[in-house]
Symmetry: C2
Subunit: 241 residues, 2 copies
DNA sequence: CCACCCAACTTGTACCAACAAGATGAGAAG
DNA sequence: CTTCTCATCTTGTTGGTACAAGTTGGGTGG
């Protein structure tokens, strides 16, 4: 049995102090130099410990300022209330169309939309924000033949894309969600302004009419600011107070 | 505009080689000494780059062996097929009862089960594995008054807990799932044998009868080995081939 | 032929030094 | 009083060294 390494000990101690509230959320940790003395370890070792906590999403580090206890409370996303909207609370929420694009379906997109590989699809990229921070980026893929001659071909926001599709004869009657989690790539970390140690929640939603898939939405959420909620069956006992 | 730091450059180069398949999945990276020469950087800098990739879940490191490209393909969990089972494929899957315990409800558990804070609840902890690796750990919480005098009070596996509850008058008619992602704590990383850089998917499922919540299941999945799938509404267009 | 040991490789931990760069507040200058 | 500068504190980056510990394969000795 080998002893726990020094930096892991230090990380464990700090982790405990965070969980117990000795170091309050949003509060600043002692500087690295102060910790050198407190733990009688070199700065490198201290930084190894802090790096662990950072990669566990417990602290964020700001150059020149210090290390701070992470302090983000997640919003709840209600997956099966009202097809398009969802984020609640926290004023200043909204979403914007970022870009409209045409491309030919990759194997993954094609299989989900049930169109031939290489078929043309319309992509509408958007980002959603709540308050200051953007909380998700998403892309919606439509089979070209469905959206031809609809407002969805125009580079402007639409009230409800599903309502538009319904007007043109394809009403959404169900969906399949596929959820996955992983660490963000550098590009995603940048877009979502994610500090190290925060994973992303990836959601693939396939919207369906009675006949066929009509839309694929690929959304990447910042993991520390989202709770995804699903309801199934008879919920009366839950919402009763 | 400040230049990209050396170790980030190196990480970016290696990341690209991994994504392009130049470094195949499961394959071994050059040793740190070799990379020192290739990138003309100190071992410290190389290790910073490798640490980044490790914390992004792209590589795993084995002392004495080397650094390897991560190679795990996720299973799909079908959330609303058959109440209890779910994991498919990959032979040797199963689950075992780990521990049975009585405790008084914490505020969080109490509010989800709609019981008074401090009320007694029965906890059944279990782990699920597929093949060699354990893929999730979970704990099911039952209000004490529901499971008294049922097999769920006994420390042995039961075929279907929901079937037992139905026998005793509380049939499940719906559920609420709440999904969340975060980095694992050290204890979770240990139980699930998670390498650094792999987040967990946390699912709180509240099962409901027509009258009240009858069970709360808290499950922690290894993020790199799980896809959570959810279906809603009319799915015929999706399963039609 | 087999078992053991050890040299040589690997990554992990820990230390030191130095400089860069972001942030802040005190104090000088207007 | 207001504004600017700068000393000083902070974290970030990069270099170095040394030793510990896990792994492997070859060679030695039985």
């Amino acid at each position: 049995m080998r002893p726990e390494s020094r930096y892991r000990q230090i990380a464990r101690i700090l982790r405990r102090e965070i969980h117990e509230g000795i170091l309050p959320r949003g509060g600043r940790l002692p500087s690295e130099k102060q910790m050198e003395e407190r733990f009688d370890a070199s700065r490198n070792t201290i930084r190894l410990a802090l790096g662990m906590l950072r990669n566990q999403g417990l602290i964020v580090s700001r150059p020149g300022r210090g290390h701070f206890v992470q302090d983000v409370v997640p919003d709840t996303f209600h997956a099966n209330r009202s097809g398009s909207k969802g984020l609640n609370e926290s004023g200043m929420a909204g979403q914007n169309l970022e870009e409209l694009q045409l491309l030919s379906a990759t194997p993954d997109i094609a299989s989900r939309l049930r169109v031939p590989e290489g078929a043309m699809v319309v992509v509408r990229r958007m980002y959603r924000f709540s308050g200051e921070i953007s909380s998700s980026v998403s892309a919606a893929y439509y089979p070209m033949d469905l959206v031809q001659d609809t407002p969805l071909m125009l580079p402007q926001d639409v009230e409800s894309a599903l309502a538009v599709l319904a007007e043109y004869g394809q009403r959404q009657v169900g969906f399949v969600d596929e959820l996955q989690t992983r660490m963000p790539g550098p590009q995603e970390a940048d877009q979502l302004e994610l500090p190290p140690g925060v994973p992303v929640l990836v959601v693939h939603r396939t919207d369906l009419s009675e006949e066929r898939p009509i839309r694929l939405v690929h959304t990447v959420y910042a993991g520390h600011s989202i709770r995804y909620q699903y309801e199934h069956g008879d919920m009366s006992a839950y919402h009763r107070d």
